[in-house]
Assembly symmetry: C2
Homo-oligomer: 158 residues x 2
């Protein structure tokens, strides 16, 4: 951890604090850094924008990708004020940055009322044991689209 | 599974097919239904919008929440053409619908080149064993924001 890493994390934490003061949403902030420069910032905006996916990391990743004109964060570093929830961790894996720093952890989040730990537990369960009932139907019809995708010659993979 | 459920799933599958024909992104579609009415639709738009979070379920959830003016999908049902990746499953848990139907599964997705299964494996690992290096720093400073959140009297919880 360098002094620069601390500065970047302090900016993520500052975004979290600013967000709660502005009533944007929960106490979370995140930034995306590339070549020592911030290219995306976000705080949680779930309740102010009625968007359950507007977590700090998702907001910062989307902004960074717009700035890079890319759906990949090659060589980027994410600084987030709290260990990502499964949704945000999934978003990070899809964006494929080089590295992530986080401040608080999921137990800290649980202590102030956030369900991350419950969602981590649910994701690890077999589908039929999960709390939100999940049922597979029409798999054969769905597979036809996958076959069309596999055979498509002009596709952009990600 | 009712005939109505099949119709809704066929619409999700149709969105997936339309999406690949329009080069919006990968072969995935999803809808959100409330009281028998579609209130949100989406197909994957990752590559066309440079947004790694624009998976079909996320797009459909965001649209449904805008239509409901709510960050919660109480009593709603999600139909998705493929078992959600961890990011989308996380989004579903945050949106809290009553039920989910899916067509293809994660192995089917892996067979046409999508990493969902890899991300499921990574999420289950202890942080220090994950492929994207993840390091905790400045936890004490992050915790101060959580304390401010805990003490905040006018907060909206979610």
């Amino acid at each position: 951890m360098t002094e620069r890493d601390k500065e970047f994390m302090r900016r993520a934490i500052e975004l979290a604090q600013n967000g709660i003061e502005a009533n944007d949403g929960g106490p979370f902030g995140a930034i995306v850094v590339r070549d020592g420069e911030i290219i995306g910032e976000g705080c949680n905006r779930v309740t102010s924008t009625n968007d359950p996916t507007a977590h700090a990391e998702v907001v910062a990743i989307r902004e960074a990708c717009q700035n890079l004109n890319s759906f990949q964060l090659d060589g980027c570093v994410i600084y987030t004020s709290c260990e990502p929830c499964p949704m945000c961790l999934g978003a990070i894996y899809w964006a494929r940055p080089a590295k992530m720093y986080f401040a608080c952890n999921r137990e800290d989040a649980a202590n102030v009322g956030f369900d991350d730990d419950f969602i981590y537990d649910e994701i690890a369960l077999p589908i039929e044991q999960r709390r939100i009932e999940s049922i597979s139907i029409l798999r054969d019809e769905g597979l036809m689209v996958f076959e069309n995708w596999a055979n498509k010659s002009d596709k952009t993979e990600y």
